[in-house]
């Protein structure tokens, strides 16, 4: 079956990139040393590097990348619009605002979990506002409008914090954090992000059939027995939990949620339900690859992951526009 083959290929790709990610870093360990440190615990410094630095970094790349890919696919399916992405419903920017406030007030340096906790609070407030704004019976359109309003507000408040920041170091911290990165993360971050991320995945994974039915429009889907109110609630909460947790530990990483569903859609026969799992794997693969790229291209300049995903994503997107145009014969 073509579909099964695609999933296995993507899963293999993720596994290969995960392994590669473990073998790359400034410590310059050989492959044999890396593996013996990771698996058998040989070599004190190498064990520390492998288990406390590289392993959490690779795990976070998988968690955050899969969340972005899965959320992007779910949102595009719900909105029936290939331009939808996690940032569209305002969760990313609100989580970022929470993190920025933690950096600005100095809370972030008081405790390692203060920043992610503050970001998650931001995401939570955003979701509550979003559901309140979009109303109980609103369709995809009201959700987009509410999300745009919310992103704009969170973005403006973030700018305001930067604008009023008296401390240039704090400002630089904030700007770099906003670019998104997986450098210097530990298992503390993994344990913080993991439960919420898995909860979000669980909520989104059940949406396949409803999203498939939405291909026919909201009215037809409702008449096919899909409970749209429940679907929308699960969608928003799932995106907020998984992407909110991702932003909390890695900052705002753009383009993955937009580009991955786009790339994989033709390979699953354009079916929104099957796109979910494919996009989750694809997102994990893309973020692992980008995070490897960050360490290979400019190893000593701390290149930010969000910058690289945008640099990879934009040309891919332009190519897609070109291909779509060619198919439309324009």
């Amino acid at each position: 079956m073509r579909g099964q083959g695609l999933f296995w290929a993507l899963a293999l790709l993720v596994a290969a990139l995960f392994a590669l990610s473990l073998l790359i870093g400034p410590a310059g360990l050989s492959v044999r040393d890396s593996l013996s440190a990771l698996l058998a615990g040989r070599g004190e410094a190498a064990v520390l590097v492998m288990r406390e630095i590289r392993l959490p970094r690779a795990i976070l790349a998988v968690l955050v990348g899969a969340s972005l890919g899965l959320s992007g696919a779910a949102l595009q399916g719900y909105m029936r619009n290939p331009l939808a992405e996690p940032a569209l419903i305002g969760v990313s920017s609100s989580a970022a605002l929470g993190a920025v406030l933690a950096l600005q007030t100095g809370l972030a340096s008081a405790h390692v979990l203060a920043l992610p906790a503050s970001a998650l609070t931001g995401a939570l407030i955003a979701v509550s506002l979003l559901l309140l704004l979009a109303g109980p019976r609103g369709g995809a359109f009201t959700l987009i409008l509410a999300g745009i309003a919310l992103s704009a507000l969170a973005g403006a408040l973030t700018q305001l914090v930067l604008n009023l920041s008296p401390n240039p170091y704090a400002t630089a911290d904030i700007v770099f954090w906003l670019m998104g990165s997986l450098a210097d993360r530990s298992f503390t971050h993994v344990w913080l992000a993991l439960p919420l991320t898995l909860l979000g995945w669980l909520m989104l994974a059940g949406l396949g059939r409803g999203l498939d039915a939405l291909t026919l429009g909201e009215d037809a889907a409702a008449a096919l027995g899909i409970r749209l109110g429940r679907l929308r609630l699960a969608l928003v909460l799932g995106v907020a939990a998984s992407v909110g947790a991702g932003v909390a530990v890695a900052g705002a990483i753009g383009f993955v949620g937009l580009i991955v569903p786009h790339l994989l859609r033709p390979l699953v026969g354009a079916r929104p339900g099957r796109l979910l799992a494919a996009s989750a794997l694809g997102g994990a693969a893309l973020l692992l690859a980008a995070d490897i790229g960050v360490r290979l291209v400019l190893p000593d300049r701390d290149l930010k992951l969000g910058v690289v995903t945008a640099l990879i994503g934009a040309p891919l997107f332009i190519r897609l526009i070109y291909r779509t145009r060619a198919e439309a014969g324009a």
């Binding site: 029936r80 291909t215 026919l216 037809a220 008449a223 096919l224 027995g225 899909i226 026969g269 354009a270």
Partner: protein, 252 residues
């Protein structure tokens, strides 16, 4: 229960009633045509009948739980939306959604229903084509096949023949009449009174949200009703080729 019971069905938009106190009983075997001028409340009546809009009064379909209602009635909205370039077979297969339990994959019965629906609408050769790349008329047929694959005893369609060429309008109406003759309840809204008179076994005439006439087509399209509701004078006669309806002039 394969018919529809509507009792004092009312839908308000703000304070203004869009559907006003409609009571009717529709039975299996009837091809019911819902006619009336633009804005008479035809679409809203059908959506309320299915329970897709908040309403007062009762509809026997709207009372059912969502999944059970989906097995009882198939609904073809007026907008022919196909959001993604899925294959025709996939799209028709969406009609099986109400028959699948959580996580259940389509089985032989589902594939048979999809195949039969596609065969009935002459789509057998289209199975692997992308639905979004078909012509408007072909897309309309694919969406009707989707509704048939649902295998529901009630079929409701909102202006299913709008935008089709004359031959396709005719064959589509013949298809709906045939489905009713097989024992289903078919309810369609339409503006072509000529085709309504020819193919429907019963007409519901709506005007400003109210059901103003209900009965055999010839009786519903009386001179008085045509003048009052449509503002038309028309020629309506039984001929050896069946009933013929032709508007002659606007009378207001």
């Amino acid at each position: 229960m394969t018919g529809i019971e509507l009792s004092h069905l009312t839908v308000r938009r703000g304070r203004c009633p869009v559907v006003d106190d409609v009571t009717a009983t529709l039975s299996p075997g009837d091809c019911v045509g819902l006619v009336g001028p633009n804005g008479a409340g035809k679409t809203t009546l059908m959506r309320a009948t299915l329970g897709l809009v908040p309403h007062k009064g009762t509809s026997s379909l709207a009372c059912l739980p969502a999944s059970e209602r989906a097995r009882a009635a198939a609904w073809l909205p007026q907008t022919r939306e196909i959001a993604w370039p899925v294959s025709v077979e996939t799209l028709v297969g969406l009609g099986r959604t109400p028959h699948l339990g959580p996580g259940q994959r389509p089985g032989p019965a589902d594939r048979a229903a999809v195949g039969a629906a596609m065969a009935r609408l002459d789509l057998t050769g289209f199975a692997t084509r992308r639905a979004t790349e078909l012509s408007g008329g072909e897309q309309a047929r694919v969406l009707i096949a989707r509704a048939l694959a649902q295998e529901a005893p009630v079929l409701m369609a909102d202006e299913p023949i709008a935008g089709l060429d004359p031959a396709h309008q005719f064959t589509t109406m013949a298809l709906f009449a045939g489905l009713a003759a097989e024992g289903r309840l078919v309810m369609i809204s339409l503006h072509d009174l000529g085709l309504a008179v020819r193919f429907c076994t019963r007409l519901l005439l709506m005007h400003r949200g109210r059901l103003v006439a209900d009965g055999p087509p010839r009786a519903v399209l009386s001179e008085a009703n045509l003048a009052e509701v449509f503002g038309l004078r028309a020629y309506l006669a039984d001929t050896p080729d069946g009933p013929v309806f032709q508007p002659l002039e606007v009378v207001r």
